[in-house]
Amino acid sequence: MKKRIVFACSSGIATSTVVAEKVVDYCKNHGIDVEYQQAIIGELPALDNSADLIVVTSQVETKLNTPIINALPIITGIGEQELLDNIIKLLKG
């Protein structure tokens, strides 16, 4: 299974990198091949409809068509497992 994910954070390189590595790896172990890009939060409206999922590490107010998941549990460690399983569920539909 191939899926596209956009990982976004405020700088585009710090927390999104941490999360991307973890999520892509977890997906791989669950049979999902992920193609991804990293972005800054401000770029999200332009990236709407370009991916299967948007994973962010800050509060996003904008309403988009693409499902958005907040992945701060990966940074804090609290609720990380549940979050990763939710992502798999969402991608597998």
Binding site: V18, I41, S58, I75, G77
Partner: protein
């Protein structure tokens, strides 16, 4: 490929400041003096902190991981400060929540070291039970060598 430097001059222990702006000013200035960042780094850092706060709590200890737009970086580096008294940062998870921060990891990172995923290494390090507590008691030189050893830095 680029490497990340923790300049020994940018590791502070027992730092006495009244608020986060003062702490970040000292850390940013130390990196600026040594040529790691551009002039506007500090202003951008403070602005970013307002909109996207970087306070976090691990095992009851408040830390912060301030960072900002990679375009202000000349050479990748990290500055670290253990504070004498905690200062308030807002919570990355809930910006209305305040965190009493005792250790600041200022990340002066650009695209060129993304592959090192240094933030992940820092998070893995501080998630180890007792690691942060230990860091709170280290001398400056001990903290410096500890960080250089634990992270893929120079």
């Amino acid at each position: 490929m680029s490497k990340i430097i923790i300049p020994e001059k940018s590791v502070f222990t027992d730092l006495e400041v009244s608020n986060k702006e003062e702490a970040l000013r000292i850390l940013a200035d130390s990196l600026l003096e040594q040529g790691f960042i551009h002039d506007n780094f500090y202003k951008s850092l403070i602005n970013r902190e307002k909109n996207f706060p970087t306070g976090l709590e691990f095992h009851g200890i408040g830390i912060a991981i301030p960072h900002t737009d990679p375009k202000y970086i000349k050479k990748d580096s990290i500055a670290v400060a253990v504070l004498n008294k905690p200062v308030i940062f807002q919570d990355m998870v809930d910006k209305s929540n305040s965190i009493n921060v005792k250790i600041i990891f200022l990340l002066g990172l650009s695209e060129s070291t993304k592959h090192l995923n240094i933030l992940k290494q820092i998070i893995d390090l501080i998630q180890v039970k007792g690691a942060l507590e230990e860091m709170l008691t280290m001398s400056k030189s001990h903290l410096y060598s500890y960080l250089v050893e634990k992270l893929s830095v120079e």
